[in-house]
Structure formats: structure tokens, C-alpha cells
């Protein structure tokens, strides 16, 4: 997939700047923090991505206006979306769909509404905007993305958006000068741990000119991480320790409040 996009980008670049294929814009980006530590008091944070558009060669004539689309994806997860239905008078989980290897976190930012940056075909091809982002579902033995009006897809995105794990910000990228921009990446308290990828695409005249990638990491830190790890890796010991804690608390109370 990525390979196709790159090939296509090259094709566009060649077709647009066919006369001088060597000369083009360069995109340079930098992220304010490459590691985010999540402690017990973590209530979400934001990190800043800076970037600049530069000419490849000094003689290259720059455009007047550029557009930027930043796609930040978190660790991939497989999730089940379930729908409740009424059966015999009670509401129970009935139909379900599995979303295979979709980003746990997906924020897409741009400097103006996506449909003004490029046409629908280009957006679809480059996954510009959540509507065009590939969210493959397991359907029978096939794994495929559905139409974007699919109720499971719509509600999956809605629930993820409510958790602030998915989001799109058509004004999330700000141009400070015609070539210098910044974007704020918002990480909610529930941001999953792992590696995040920031994919920055430069558009000009409705076509993608160049894209670069950057990455950062969200790391759980401190006591919570210790407890969560212990519960997962040493279930039996963790259970015994919890029971010991319960017995000690109960015993302590019966001694402190002894009345007879």
C-alpha cells in the first residue's frame, strides 16, 4: 500500500514538475517530545510538531501556497464493535463486527478543510481525513474496509471520537509563515501505550508533493505500570498479594475497633 502511494507520489511529482524532475520542495519536520511518560496524574497532554517547506535547490521557484495534512496513528489493535438489540424484552449484545489491525489512536489534522486541499479521489487514495481512512473489518473470511456510511463503521468512529482517541482537525495545522507550520497533537488520558507515527504530507495545487514520517512513544510509568504488569504477568502471585492485603486490612480493623 505504502509502496503504491510512494510510487504514485513520484508519478505526480514527475508529471507536475516534468520539466525539472530533480528540483522540488523539501519537507522538514520535528516533534517537541519523542517520549511521553504517563503517570497516575496524567490527564492528557499535547505535543507540538513543527515543519518547514524548503526548496530542494536554491534556484527552485516555490509556490505561493501549500497545504499540510498530518496523520498521527497509535499502536494497531483489533477491536470488536457490538450492537445491542432487543430480544425477549431485554437488551443484549447481538450483532458484532471485528475491526482488524486498526489504529488505537488516529488524529488527522490539516490547515484547511480536507475537500479544499485535494479532490475526493486524491483524498481517498492518500487516506486524507477519517472518512477516507482504511478501517478494515472482518467480514466472513474477508478483511476489507466498508463504505463509510456503514453503521458499524460510523459508530466505531463515533465511540472512538467520544474517547478522544480519534479526531480530525481541519484547522489543526497553522502556517506561521507561508512555509513554516506547526500542528498540535492532542493525547487524551486514555492514549494507549506504544509507538506513534506522525505522517506529514505536503500538498500543492491539489496534489501531494512529498511526505515525511516522524515518530514518538507513549510510555506508562510508575506504580500503575507496576500494578498492571504484575496483574498480567504474575496473576496468581498478584491474587495472593491482594488477598493478603484484604486479610491484613480486615484484621487491622478488628483490632483497632475491638469492643469486647
Amino acid at each position: 500500500m505504502r509502496c503504491h502511494i510512494t510510487a504514485f507520489a513520484v508519478l505526480i511529482a514527475v508529471s507536475v514538475f516534468g520539466a525539472q524532475p530533480a528540483a522540488a520542495e523539501k519537507l522538514i519536520v520535528s516533534i517537541s517530545r519523542h517520549q511521553v511518560l504517563v503517570t497516575s496524574s496524567f490527564t492528557g497532554t499535547s505535543i507540538v510538531l513543527f515543519g518547514t517547506v524548503e526548496p530542494d535547490t536554491p534556484t527552485f521557484r516555490m509556490r505561493n501556497a501549500y497545504d499540510i495534512v498530518v496523520t498521527v496513528t497509535g499502536p494497531r489493535q483489533t477491536l470488536v464493535t457490538r450492537r445491542k438489540e432487543r430480544m425477549f424484552g431485554i437488551w443484549a449484545n447481538a450483532a458484532s463486527r471485528t475491526f482488524v489491525n486498526v489504529p488505537s489512536y488516529l488524529h488527522i489534522m490539516a490547515n484547511r478543510p480536507f475537500d479544499q486541499i485535494a479532490n475526493t479521489d486524491t483524498l481517498r487514495r492518500l487516506q486524507g481525513g477519517i472518512d477516507y481512512f482504511q478501517l478494515p473489518q472482518q467480514i466472513g473470511t474477508d478483511v476489507a474496509d466498508t463504505v463509510r456510511e456503514d453503521p458499524f463503521r460510523v459508530n466505531f468512529v463515533r465511540l472512538k471520537t467520544e474517547q478522544q482517541l480519534y479526531g480530525q482537525w481541519p484547522n489543526g495545522v497553522t502556517f506561521l509563515t507561508p512555509t513554516l507550520f506547526r500542528a498540535e497533537i492532542r493525547l487524551p488520558a486514555e492514549a494507549p501505550f506504544g509507538n506513534y507515527d506522525a505522517d506529514v504530507k505536503l500538498f500543492g495545487g491539489g496534489n501531494m508533493i512529498v511526505r515525511v514520517n516522524s515518530a514518538f512513544e507513549v510510555v506508562k510509568f510508575g506504580f500503575e505500570q507496576f500494578v498492571a504488569n504484575a496483574a498480567r504477568d504474575y496473576g496468581l502471585l498478584y491474587g495472593i498479594a491482594t488477598v493478603m492485603m484484604a486479610l491484613a486490612t480486615g484484621w487491622f480493623a478488628s483490632v483497632v475497633f475491638r469492643r469486647d
Binding site: 483489533t78 480486615g250 469486647d260
Partner: protein, 307 residues
């Protein structure tokens, strides 16, 4: 003050949880029960995943039973032989409950099963308790004497084989109903996150004719052991016990229980049972409402593989 629960994976207000522990502890001390049947629903209504709640409340009930059991032990009000026989069934029941819990969770029907179990169990038990205590109150007001239980009164339960003598409770009964009761308590305890004291005490009185002197102490010892083992089993199979949540609940619970016990001493037995019956019944209705009324959000997402 917000605190992050590592297993429930969500931030909660520490004082809210502590306050709930205190309130439930007060009620549990007042009625001499563990309070799991109140704690579990409260936490579910706050928004913690039912699976995590059930697993974590088990350890909270273990703590409150521990302090209760020790008080009764010092007063010599525990029939250890009876508790151990109940336990034989109880451990099996707990294992069966944890097994069903795991199975339902994989089928994505755990939340519904928990809710339905609450509806069925609490409305029936609550209804019976209200009925019984209202009759007792009416009888008392009409001035009719309560017909005392005759020492030799037998029911069909006493006709079963494998008879055993429990000296401290002064009863001579078959081991089969003892094991069965233990199994039922262990099973529902693990599945629903309840100690089962509010079920066990009436069952021991009505079916086994255990005298009031030993019934609560014995019930607490059984609850202590089944809930402690449920905690270990939940922790090792489902990895859902939230120790931070459990600790906050325990601290609130054991403190609240002390005040509740004092309040309960000043109330008449029938009134106390009527209040408890109403409370049990109301919680049952609240769960019924939850499954019958259309939920606000028909869709839900769950991560598969791990938490």
C-alpha cells in the same frame, strides 16, 4: 482527587470510591453481611467495567468478612466444622462460577448475565424478606406470640443420608444440603461479586436450622474463604482484580462497618430485616430497569486479546 485505577484503566475520584466503601460498610455492619450485592452495582453504575468490579469486590468482601469473622471468633460464635463442610461445596462452586464468568466474557454476554442474575436473585430474595418481616411485624402488633421452633422439628432435608453432627451449632444433618448450599454461595459469589451473606444466613436458618448464636459467625468465615479464593482465581485466570480499587473500598468498608454495627444494635430484628429486604429488592429493580429500558448507546467497543 483523581486516582488512576491500573486495571480498570480509568481515572476515578478517590473520595467517591472511599465514600461508597463507607456507605456500604455502614450497611454491611448494620445487617451483618458483606455488602457485595450493594458494592458491585454501585461501582458498575459509576462506570467501571462489570468484569473488573466483580473480580475486585471479591477482595473487598474478603476484608470485611475478615474483620467480622475475627469478632465472632473471639466470642466463640463460629462453628468451624460446619464452615469447613460448607467450604467443600463452596470451593467447587467458586471454581464453577469463575469458569462460567470466563466463558460468558468470551461470548460478550457477561454484563448481561451479571445484570440478569442480579434481577432474578435480588427481587426474589428481597421479596421473600419483605414478606416474612412484614408478617412478623403484623403478628407482633396483633399481639400473637411467635410460634417458637420446636427442637425436634424435622423437614425433608433431615431425611437425607450422610448425616453429620455439628456440635457447636447443636444440629445433626445430612452433608448433602450443606455441600449444596456451599456450592450455590460459592457459585453466585464468583459470578456476581457478592459474598452471599444475605443468602447464606437465611438458608442456614431455614434449611439446616442453625441457631442464631453461630449462624452469622459461621457465614462470615465461609464468605471470607470463598471470597479470598475467588480473588485468587479471578486474578490468575482473568487478570481483572484491581488492587488499587480494592484497597480504597476495603478501607472505607471496614471503617463504615464499625459505625453500622453500632447503629444496628439499636434496631428491632424485624424492622432491620424489612429494611434489608427493601434494599435488596430495590437493587434488583434497578438492574431490571437497566436491561429493559433501551440503553443510551447501542454500540460498544471492546479490545480483543488482553484487557
Amino acid at each position: 482527587m483523581q486516582i488512576y485505577l491500573p486495571i480498570a484503566d480509568l481515572p476515578v475520584n478517590i473520595f467517591l470510591i472511599l465514600g461508597m466503601g463507607l456507605a456500604v460498610g455502614f450497611i454491611s455492619g448494620m445487617f451483618g453481611i458483606g455488602g457485595g450485592f450493594l458494592m458491585t452495582p454501585l461501582l458498575i453504575f459509576v462506570g467501571i467495567a462489570p468484569a473488573v468490579v466483580v473480580a475486585s469486590v471479591a477482595s473487598h468482601v474478603a476484608a470485611s468478612s475478615m474483620s467480622g469473622a475475627m469478632a465472632y471468633w473471639r466470642r466463640n460464635a463460629v462453628d468451624l466444622a460446619l464452615a469447613l463442610m460448607l467450604l467443600a461445596g463452596g470451593i467447587l462452586g467458586t471454581a464453577a462460577g469463575v469458569w462460567l464468568f470466563t466463558l460468558l466474557r468470551s461470548l460478550d454476554q457477561l454484563d448481561l448475565a451479571i445484570a440478569l442474575s442480579y434481577v432474578a436473585l435480588l427481587t426474589v430474595v428481597g421479596g421473600l424478606m419483605i414478606n416474612e418481616s412484614v408478617r412478623a411485624i403484623i403478628r407482633e402488633q396483633k399481639g400473637q406470640p411467635v410460634t417458637p421452633r420446636r427442637a425436634g422439628a424435622h423437614t425433608w432435608v433431615h431425611g437425607l443420608p450422610l448425616k453429620m453432627r455439628f456440635k457447636r451449632s447443636k444440629i445433626y444433618v445430612s452433608a448433602i444440603p450443606v455441600w449444596t448450599i456451599g456450592f450455590i454461595i460459592g457459585f453466585f459469589g464468583a459470578l456476581m461479586g457478592i459474598g452471599g451473606g444475605f443468602l447464606l444466613v437465611p438458608m442456614l436458618i431455614y434449611f439446616l436450622r442453625v441457631p442464631t448464636a453461630t449462624v452469622i459467625g459461621t457465614s462470615m468465615v465461609l464468605t471470607l474463604i470463598t471470597m479470598a479464593s475467588a480473588t485468587v482465581m479471578h486474578a490468575s485466570t482473568n487478570h481483572l482484580v484491581d488492587a488499587v480499587l480494592a484497597l480504597i473500598l476495603m478501607i472505607g468498608g471496614v471503617v463504615g462497618a464499625q459505625f453500622g454495627a453500632r447503629a444496628g444494635q439499636n434496631m428491632r430484628g424485624e424492622r432491620l430485616r424489612l429494611l434489608l429486604g427493601l434494599l435488596v429488592f430495590a437493587v434488583g429493580l434497578r438492574f431490571a430497569y437497566q436491561v429493559i429500558v433501551q440503553p443510551g448507546d447501542l454500540y460498544s467497543i471492546r479490545l480483543i486479546g488482553g484487557m
